[in-house]
């Protein structure tokens, strides 16, 4: 009995915080837009059976008819993918340097990585507007040292979005990789060198494969939120930056079309869940093959 209660607690939270909200969103995505509060119909007030009988997949069909939606999905995937790779390229060397730093420095370095979280994410992204704009610090600096003659247009382009995502999600990449590298036994690298590897080969053959789990975790932690990112593309991106998070926001708040917005969210969730499930299944298989 006590055991059942103990096990029930985490399942209750899972139900309350994930499954019920998802069921609500899914239900709205199957409803129709209405001028009412809440702005959709049918609702549970109409009676459960009436409500269920009026649900349909109209909104999902609509998403396939207007090419805005699939273009936004593809563009988001592309931006999320490129920024994840960029974050990995920036984050891995940082995590590596941290893991190789003298023991007494590491807590400080770790602190520095976490420090940005102490200020609001919105303010930090907004600060980049000041850095990247035409009269911003970056352009002024580049003009001053004479590399460029005219200010670069960075703000309101996809480049600014990449910079914003890399900057914002860097800690999420660094922390799991750092923890994987920190656990790495230094004698493994020595063993690889002893067996004839150069430093670089030892890195490729031992360090990278052994930090693989950290890399994967970091990439997921960056890719997933970047895919649905809304604040960064709205503040730093331009009119040409098409991201599904922005589309979702507009459907929800500008058009007040909750059913379509919910359908967009459900598809976004599926885009994320399906590859993750496939990936985990593959991992499971590999582990089983190994034993």
């Amino acid at each position: 009995m006590r055991r059942a209660v103990l096990i029930a607690v985490p399942y209750f939270w899972l139900l309350a915080l994930f499954l019920i909200p998802f069921a609500v969103v899914f239900k709205i995505s199957l409803s129709d837009i209405a001028l009412a509060i809440p702005p959709y119909t049918p609702t549970a007030k109409d009676g459960i059976w009436t409500m269920l009988s009026q649900l349909d997949f109209e909104n999902f069909v609509f998403l396939t008819q207007d090419d805005l939606y699939w273009k936004a999905y593809v563009s988001s995937l592309q931006i999320a993918l490129i920024s994840t790779v960029l974050t990995l390229l920036v984050g891995y060397p940082m995590a590596y340097a941290m893991a190789r730093a003298p023991e007494q420095w590491r807590p400080t370095l770790l602190m520095l990585v976490i420090l940005p979280f102490w200020t609001s994410f919105l303010i930090r992204v907004y600060a980049w507007v000041g850095i990247l704009s035409g009269e911003g610090f970056l352009n002024q600096f580049l003009l001053w040292i004479g590399i460029i003659d005219a200010p670069l247009t960075i703000l309101n382009t996809n480049i600014a979005v990449y910079i914003g995502i890399v900057y914002t999600y860097l800690p999420f990449m660094i922390l799991p990789i750092y923890s994987a590298l920190d656990r790495l036994d230094g004698s493994l690298i020595e063993a690889a060198e002893d067996l004839g590897c150069s430093r670089i080969r030892a890195f490729w053959l031992v360090t990278i494969p052994l930090s693989r789990n950290g890399i994967i975790a970091g990439c997921f932690l960056v890719f997933i939120p970047a895919l649905g990112e809304f604040v960064i593309p709205s503040l730093l991106g331009g009119s040409g930056t098409l991201m599904i998070g922005k589309v979702l926001f507009e459907e929800f708040f500008s058009n007040r079309d909750w059913p379509v917005a919910s359908a967009v969210a459900v598809i976004l969730l599926l885009i994320l869940i399906i590859p993750i499930v496939l990936f985990q299944r593959n991992e499971q298989k590999q582990v089983e093959d190994g034993s």
């Binding site: 002893d194 067996l195 590897c197």
Partner: protein
Amino acid sequence: MAETVFAPWDDPTEKPLIRFRNVTKRFGDFTAIDDLTLDIFEREFFALLGPSGCGKTTMMRMLAGFENPTEGAIELAGQDIAGVPANKRAVNMMFQSYALFPHLTVWDNIAFGLRRESKDKAAIAARVEEMLKLTRLEKFARRKPHQISGGQRQRVALARSLAKAPKLLLLDEPLGALDAKLREATQFELMDIQEKTGTTFVIVTHDQEEAMTVASRVAVMDEGRVMQVSTPERIYEAPDSVYVADFIGDVNLLHGTATPSGDETYAVTWSANEAPVQAASTRSFSTGQTCHLAIRPEKVAIYKDKPEADNAVQGKVLDIAYLGNLSTYHVELPTGDIIKAQVANTRRISRRDFTWEDPVWVSWSKTAGVLLAE
């Protein structure tokens, strides 16, 4: 036995495989190795023995190429190897932690070094199979390191370091993680493999029994210096310093002054109230020179009545350490000194002749002890 004894160190024409020449290694202010000169010969099983922090691991790391000497030179087969990186040396190391690659199977771990030499696939496979057979690991080739036992991991580490047929194999506390029974079995296995492959082995250990069992020669180290290099028998029977006598095995030390009392024999005055004891020594001492007489407990006999012997001292049993096969009697002399006498328990314990507080005589012959100046 017509077989010639393996003793290249006694042959002046023999060229050593490894030569430490006045090697000093400092880490900041700390001197890990202090002006060390040492020769190690081909096919030797050489043990570096000492307490932790004595510099034995530093010596090994210098041989492997992970550290370079601050001063002096290390030669491998006549070549100075300072500056040659670890991956270019014909030296392989078996790590204390084994350092097996957790993401690779046993087979791939053993093949790791061979693949770096870009040998063809068939040659690598043949060599790996040979190593698996040598270490009796054929059944575990497809397993990952975390799926095998500690003893098996130890053998994988050995197979991996031997796969490239190095001129010199370094073993850093190779048996430290094994339990006592397995350790003993593995010691003989190591000796067997060393003999089969003809590789020169240098083993680092703090376990003197292990060093004595496996090694052809043992270097006893302390604070970055080599105290004595010799065969295990000579290290045990003829230590040349009090440190070595005390470090290896158990020993009774009597402090006194020497007086020549015949041909290579000295009378050692060790107490004002007791008669001097006789000790034979090839080392010469002048009259009145301070000396230490080191006697192994198993060379001390214990009696109820005064025996006919070169040296006999009376005392009483203070303590008995029962070790199963042996018992060590701690006998307190009237001077307060304690002499340990070790006796094989050839009879059942209920028939023990001596018990606590019994007055007894301890005795030893004049050749039993070693007379040391320092």
